[in-house]
């Protein structure tokens, strides 16, 4: 079970590029949201061929 847990008992690690500074945790979340957005656009939605949704 410990293998699955993440130790958060330390300061966050940051990626810094000039004036921009973002924690790796936030960066992962931003990446996930972008991936989710793209997947929502390209993944086919299950449809009903007869188009009867009553």
């Amino acid at each position: 079970m410990n293998l699955l847990s993440i130790d958060l008992n330390h300061p966050a690690h940051y990626l810094t590029a000039g004036p921009i500074s973002v924690s790796y945790g936030n960066l992962v979340m931003i990446g996930l949201v972008i991936v989710l957005f793209v997947v929502a656009l390209v993944l086919p939605f299950p449809s009903h061929d007869d188009d009867e949704r009553s």
């Binding site: 979340m29 949201v33 989710l36 957005f37 929502a40 939605f45 188009d51 949704r53 009553s54």
Partner: protein
């Protein structure tokens, strides 16, 4: 009896005219709605419902419970992950609606209520951070008080006042946000879901 209608009659007739049951609870949607990008609004609402339910439980039990008991930790985590999903879904919903210019076809008020809901959600999330009653919330509060003082609202909102943040978070903001969401959804139902830009018209 006067021919002038009673105010109750006027309100009833006006309400039925503006909010037809077929619009409020439709059983059919346009074909273009069959896309995953259209589910994120209702996904955001589902996360909001989970937030309210877990928040009510946390409210009744209190900080000592959510800090020390395993069930308290569980519901604290449910509240945390619900708000993570709430913002993830809301941001995808926002991007989807922005890129399809969802304010077309006299839907500007739908867009505006969504924008206000977004900012109200940020304030709600912020006050939630303030009332965790841990070192994290102390750090955020001491940093935020300087920001509030610098923009001149420190006299009205003191980030170091946990009681004030608690009451705003559990009473004022959920009611305001809930009302905004209901208004937003009613507008979506009245105006209909915005069609894709390539579909031509704006209705």
């Amino acid at each position: 009896m006067s021919s002038k209608k009673m105010w109750t009659t006027r309100v009833r007739e006006s309400t039925l005219e503006k909010f037809e049951p077929e619009d409020l609870l439709p059983d059919r949607q346009p074909a273009y709605v069959a896309s995953w990008i259209y589910i994120f609004g209702v996904a955001t609402i589902a996360a909001f419902v989970m937030l309210v339910i877990s928040g009510l439980i946390l409210t009744f039990e209190g900080p000592a419970w959510w800090h020390t008991s395993s069930i308290g930790h569980f519901f604290n985590s449910i509240h945390l992950w619900s708000v993570e999903l709430f913002f993830v879904f809301m941001v995808v919903h926002l991007w989807g609606k922005f890129w399809m210019a969802a304010w077309r076809g006299r839907r500007w008020m739908t867009w505006i209520t969504g924008v206000i809901s977004f900012f109200a959600s940020i304030v709600t999330g912020f006050t939630g951070y303030l009332i965790q009653t841990n070192f994290d919330s102390q750090w955020i509060a001491t940093q935020a008080k300087d920001s509030f003082n610098s923009v001149g609202i420190g006299a009205y909102f003191n980030a170091l006042n946990t009681g004030q943040a608690m009451l705003i978070h559990v009473s004022l903001l959920p009611l305001a946000l809930g009302g905004l969401v209901v208004w937003h959804v009613i507008l979506v139902r009245r105006k209909g879901v915005v069609p894709p830009i390539e579909a031509g018209g704006s209705e």
